[in-house]
Amino acid sequence: MSDPLRTLDAPGWAQFDPVTLAVPLFVGLIIAEMIYVKATGKGRYETQDAGASLMMGFGNTIAKILFGALAVGAFALVSQHRLFDIPWAWWSLILCFFAEDLAYYWFHRISHERRWFWASHVVHHSSQHYNLTTALRQTWTGQVSLTFVFWLPLVWIGFPPLMVALFMGISLVYQFWIHTEAITRLGPLEWVLNTPSHHRVHHATNPRYLDANYAGVLIIWDRLFGTFVAEDSQEPPRYGIITNLGAFNPVRIAFHEWVGLWRDLHQAKNLKEVLGYTLGPPGWSPDGARLTTAQIKAEALRGEQSVR
């Protein structure tokens, strides 16, 4: 097949990268948020933390240049075996938007539930701050750890790879602005859209907020699959990860969980332990000495009940 990515039948307007185009917008909005935080005291910034987040974002763009071919190759390969020839049309764009957002939900949920994918995704949660620079704190190892597999079913069904990539980019750009404490609630939009309030819950380490709100653009998936938790104004989110990092060094941020995983695998005694460490939830250990987020949540709930 001469056009495995089906770029020839893509309309001209669709041939752009939303993320690249949005970079000046990102810079402008971060400047605006910094000034807002300084003027009002609502929200928090810290220079070293912001610098680390921005360096992770910069490194992410380089990683995509170096390893993006893996995803492109996989999309091209799967597209050659597609079930249907879905054309570029208004209805297919609508379908693809929902399908991509659903794929994102499961990518994101599994990135929290399975350590292999968490080793990449933990980077995004490793700041104790929650501002627009946190949105750019992105992994360097997403491509090499094959996170793109979650979108391959869409290409296999028959959506043009470029259409899928377009909505992946739009979703990423959408999710930028929700990383802020400057916006409280958005009224009825909270029912349908992923908002700053919903995503603050997702970034929180308070036990009741753990493992919640995995949405990309639409919060409906969390409501549908039972992972939705509303922000409680009586319980402000504490941001970060269960064991917060003691380093601002971008290389340490990017690879600390991979090194931890490698060390655990080195000590694994059998295949069951190898699979447990790799595909089990973060915090899994053969002797149960560490806690998973589900266990932390359950312990906190027991504590609350015993207080009552």
């Binding site: 690249t20 910094m34 220079t47 974002g57 490793s126 104790q128 380093a247 601002f248 060390r263």
Partner: protein, 126 residues
Amino acid sequence: MSLVQTLQFQAFAAAGVALLVGLSFALGFRARARIEDLQYLAPTTPLVETVLDADGRAGVGLTADGRLLLAKVMGADIAVRTTPLSAVSRIAIKGEDVVLHLADLGFPKVRLRASPPPLWLGRLAK
């Protein structure tokens, strides 16, 4: 995107990073947390010994079950680890300066100044 366009984009992104870090610094987002009480950081972990950095930048505690509680200031925040002694690869004490080196890539070392460093920490160093 051609190679030239890619390089232009990367240069623009790098300039953006520098601009934003500079602006953050200029706006005074340089708050420093201070550690004044280790037990407060880990209320459910009983501590039998503690030592704090003279400037409140770090702290180390020995738990009742023989583990170490490590805390360090990370800008405006504090990062805490409770870890077995085996996770500490080296404890270096030189005068008032104490450095605990950890195998954890995400929490590589805790540095503190105590005059004098407590004896229990000296015993652990051996």
